[in-house]
């Protein structure tokens, strides 16, 4: 089985895997970083969002062979103490209901705020449109992204 060198949350991992194995499952089942969630496997829900070289990326669509040499950040590595401004805002607004989609939401929001630090409401709505929340915590998500942008 081929070997891949991955840089995840500033740690290097040498992983043996089929080259078409999605990064999502490498993270979850091989490296035990289970914060990144599986929702659809086809890039439609955003639950599996991670940062690849700073960009919000669907890890269910990124094959491990394509992830080599990239700087990958998962929810576990977003901040050292869980206090990234987006995480703080999520806590202040008490966003989660079931919580399952929230890692993906946070990763999308944090990458977005890096490119647009004072977004309008409609920019936030556009940016977050790709992340499904089945519990429909959308009002709170929108509010938390806004709050984070002010931090």
């Amino acid at each position: 089985m081929p070997k891949f060198n991955l840089k995840i949350n500033n740690t290097s991992y040498a992983i043996e895997a089929d080259s078409d194995m999605p990064l999502l499952w490498v993270l979850r089942d091989k490296i035990n970083l289970v914060g990144t969630k599986f929702g659809c496997g086809i890039g439609q829900c955003g639950a599996c969002t991670v940062h690849v070289n700073g960009n919000a990326t669907r890890s269910c669509l990124l094959q491990v062979s394509q992830a080599e040499g990239m700087n990958i950040t998962t929810i576990e590595g977003l901040s050292e103490h869980g206090d990234h401004p987006v995480q703080q805002a999520w806590k202040e607004v008490d966003v989660p209901q079931c919580g399952y989609c929230q890692a993906g939401q946070i990763m999308t929001a944090s990458a977005f705020l890096n490119t647009n630090s004072s977004p309008s409401d409609s920019e936030i709505r556009d940016a977050m449109h790709g992340n499904i929340c089945r519990c429909a915590a959308y009002n709170s998500i929108q509010e938390a992204v806004k709050l984070a942008s002010k931090k």
Partner: protein, 739 residues
């Protein structure tokens, strides 16, 4: 201090305490069962026995409180709100409370179920009594040490103070308190003295959620665990004929390929059944992999052929069958007041409409999955289920094991909405582990999850009303539903009791598609139908929509034989509040409002939707929601639940569609099945009625009314009555008959 309410309960009722070997005190309690006279809570924490007690409070010598909370968490917030009830009466600072999910009690626990918005309702008094009792024991211990009367002591945030101003912390007296008698009578606080209940408390798992810690079933792992994906028939009505696993077995990550199904058939052959077993008993092919991906990949490599065993159904079949039933005369009458027939015969005018809704999958964000490890010693089960007790009982039967061997642990659940009331995935996991004698986790892909669901059944209503001399004289609702009908008390919901001649008839179509409870079962669409109908009715009567409701509810109050489930006063109050807060009738140019008011799950709700039309497409801008669910235990959680219910309701009324073609579900993932997304969501303003009535459900009741509020607003904007969900797919259809 306000006049508080002393509560007496029998000593043997549900509480026992003891001292912990490690120091501190433990109080075991059983919410819904009397403990046996001889049971004792453990002295060692590792021995927590959920058979006699389904929950425990531990108070350490440092004064820290740990609550082992029993109810499963599906996102409705009970893991936060139930401990809040205990902490309130125990009089400790919420910050000093640590909440841990308890394990399943397989024997005695009656309601370890998250469903029907009932968790808070049933536990409201027992949990508060538990907290109050523990507090009383601690106070008694302190008073004994001081040699004063307990009634001279007061408590604030875990510190007991006597008349001389001396203080003792809970931790200081916990060892003495632990060996005291459990008092028979305790005083519960007056709601206006609440310090924790009614104050917004954040989700107790928030830190873990926002940092991605393992919490959910899908995150659970054990040494040596393998992953299993199950290939089930592609169409309802088909069974496995044969399969070829050669290509799958050749994959390096595939460990084994097996079939399951025999255990379910054996169980049924013994004449047994259980409502949580919503599944077919055909053989299914299981691929065991080293990772989830390996198992998924292996499953795709299986070549299977299927044969048709029962007729393959399609959406057209269902539509026609349900319409035929509605037009037929094979109904069960669920409620009959007065004489509808006469009222219609004498009417000046009759209005009649048919309302239609499709099947719906639950689509919890976390797909179905479960861990099982069947060994000669025990059966260890871990994962997201809303009905652990039923699961344990069925598993014991399936495997022919003693119920004591079955250990179920619940994880946090990535959504429920009714899906995890059914345990088909638990039974599959158990059979797989039993066959290969290894710990496994069964994982469904989204496609598996969506195409082998336990769906909200497709339903149609025909509602007719008679008008005589400008007055509503009769109301006749007929329901035709796939696999079952509205149950129990629903026929006694509004407008029952308000109209002299009132009748509810139901008829069911038997289908081979698995169906079941879906968030706010039956009312999730019934409310849409009825509250759309009332909009039309008000128009036909030439009446203001609000006035019509107020008048009808006044009728109920005058009707001594109303035999109803709801409170007309509380419905009127939420209606008034929604009207006031939404600025009903005074909108800006281009904004259209629709109203809906409904009672279900013991709560009363009124909603106003504000919409605009953009290029012929309705855009829901704002929803004003007035809710009476009694005392709001956790306003922060309640707000989330209420808003989520509204937006969920809009999504499914407007966008989500699910059909079948020759037994095959027509959508299997989020590229073809539409769930509401942020760009489609309104701002939801929720207003709670403030009262001191015991709390009722909140996980469900804001969902049912919203469909009609939106449909009624669309009518104002376009002049079109929408009767078929999802509305966006049926914007141009009018299937009504107005006579």
């Amino acid at each position: 201090m306000a006049a508080s309410k002393p509560m007496t309960f029998s000593r043997r009722s549900f509480l026992k305490s003891s001292a912990l070997a490690s120091g501190g005190m433990i109080i075991g309690f059983n919410l819904f069962n009397a403990c046996k006279a001889d049971v004792k809570p453990p002295v060692d924490l590792s021995q927590l026995n959920y058979n006699d007690f389904n929950a425990f409070i531990k108070i350490s010598e440092e004064g820290k409180v740990t609550i082992f909370s029993p109810n499963p968490e599906i996102g409705q917030g009970v893991k936060t709100s139930m401990p809040m009830l205990i902490a309130e009466e125990l009089d400790v600072a919420w910050e000093d409370v640590y909440v841990q999910q308890g394990k399943l009690d397989t024997e005695n626990y009656k309601r370890q179920v998250a469903g029907g918005s009932q968790s808070i309702r049933y536990s409201w008094e027992p949990l508060r009594q538990t907290g109050a009792t523990a507090k009383q024991m601690l106070v008694n211990a302190a008073a004994a040490r001081w040699g004063v009367d307990a009634s001279e002591c007061s408590v604030s945030e875990g510190v007991i103070t006597n008349a001389n101003g001396e203080t003792l912390g809970y931790g200081d007296v916990v060892a003495e308190a632990a060996i005291l008698e459990v008092p028979e009578e305790v005083t519960l606080k007056d709601p206006k003295d609440f310090k924790i209940i009614g104050k917004g408390k954040g989700n107790v798992d928030i830190d873990k959620i926002i940092t991605g810690k393992p919490l959910f079933g899908l995150d659970y792992k054990e040494e040596g665990m393998l992953y299993a994906c199950v290939l089930r028939p592609p169409a309802f009505g088909q069974v496995l004929e044969s399969f070829d696993a050669e290509a799958a077995k050749a994959l390096p990550g595939v460990v084994d390929v097996i079939t399951i199904g025999q255990k379910i058939r054996d169980y049924r052959a013994q004449g047994k059944s259980n409502w949580t077993m919503a599944m077919s008993d055909t053989d299914k092919v299981v691929v065991i992999g080293k990772t989830t991906w390996d198992a998924m990949k292996g499953k795709k490599a299986i070549k299977a052929s299927w044969k048709t065993e029962t007729p393959l159904e399609s959406t057209e079949t269902h539509n026609q069958a349900l319409l035929d039933l509605l037009n037929g005369n094979t109904f069960n009458t669920r409620r009959k007041d007065g004489n509808v027939k006469n009222a219609f015969a004498n009417a000046d005018k009759i209005i009649e409409r048919v309302y239609e809704a499709p099947f719906l999958p639950h689509n919890t964000m976390e797909p179905m999955n479960f861990f099982a490890n069947v060994t000669p010693e025990k059966v260890h089960l871990v994962g997201p289920t809303q009905t652990p007790e039923a699961a344990a009982n069925v598993v014991a039967d399936l495997l022919g094991r003693d119920i004591k061997d079955i250990q179920v642990e619940m994880t946090r659940m990535g959504g429920g909405f009714g899906r995890r009331l059914y345990d088909d995935f638990v039974y599959e996991a158990v059979e797989i582990s039993n066959t290969i004698k290894k710990p496994i986790k069964m994982v469904s892909s989204r496609e598996d999850d969506m195409t082998t669901g336990v769906y909200r059944p497709s339903t149609k209503y025909k509602i007719a009303a008679s008008i005589k001399d400008g007055k509503l004289t009769g109301y006749h609702l007929k329901e035709a539903c796939v696999n079952g009908n509205m149950y129990g008390l629903i026929p006694n919901f509004f407008p029952a009791g308000a109209i002299a001649n009132y009748q509810v008839d139901t008829v069911s179509y038997k289908s081979n598609i698995t169906t079941g409870a879906w968030r706010a079962p039956y009312t999730n669409f019934l409310a849409s139908a009825e509250q759309s109908f009332f909009d039309e009715l008000a128009e036909a009567l030439g009446m203001d929509r609000v006035q019509l409701h107020m008048d009808l509810l006044d009728n109920v109050k005058q009707n001594p034989e109303a035999n109803i489930e709801y409170s007309p006063d509380r419905l009127q109050a939420v209606l008034k509040l929604a009207v006031e807060k939404s600025n009903w009738g005074n909108t800006e140019e281009g904004v259209y409002q629709g109203l809906s008011v409904y009672y279900c799950h013991n709560s009363h709700v009124a909603e106003v939707a504000d919409i605009t039309m953009e290029n012929g497409i309705p855009n829901v801008k704002r929803v004003t929601c007035a809710v009476d669910c009694g005392i709001v235990v956790n306003p922060l959680g309640a707000m989330n639940q209420a808003k989520g219910g509204v937006i969920d309701g809009i999504g499914h009324a407007l966008y989500s569609d699910f059909g079948f073609n020759n037994g095959v579900p027509q959508s299997n993932n989020f590229n073809t099945y539409q769930l509401i997304r942020m760009g489609q969501t309104p701002k939801v303003d929720v207003h709670f009625i403030e009262n001191n009535i015991d709390p009722t459900g909140l996980g469900e009741p804001t969902l049912p009314p919203i469909g009609a509020a939106v449909a009624n607003a669309i009518y104002k904007a376009t002049g079109k009555r929408l009767t078929k969900q999802p509305y966006m797919s049926n914007m141009n259809v009018e299937n009504s008959v107005v006579g």
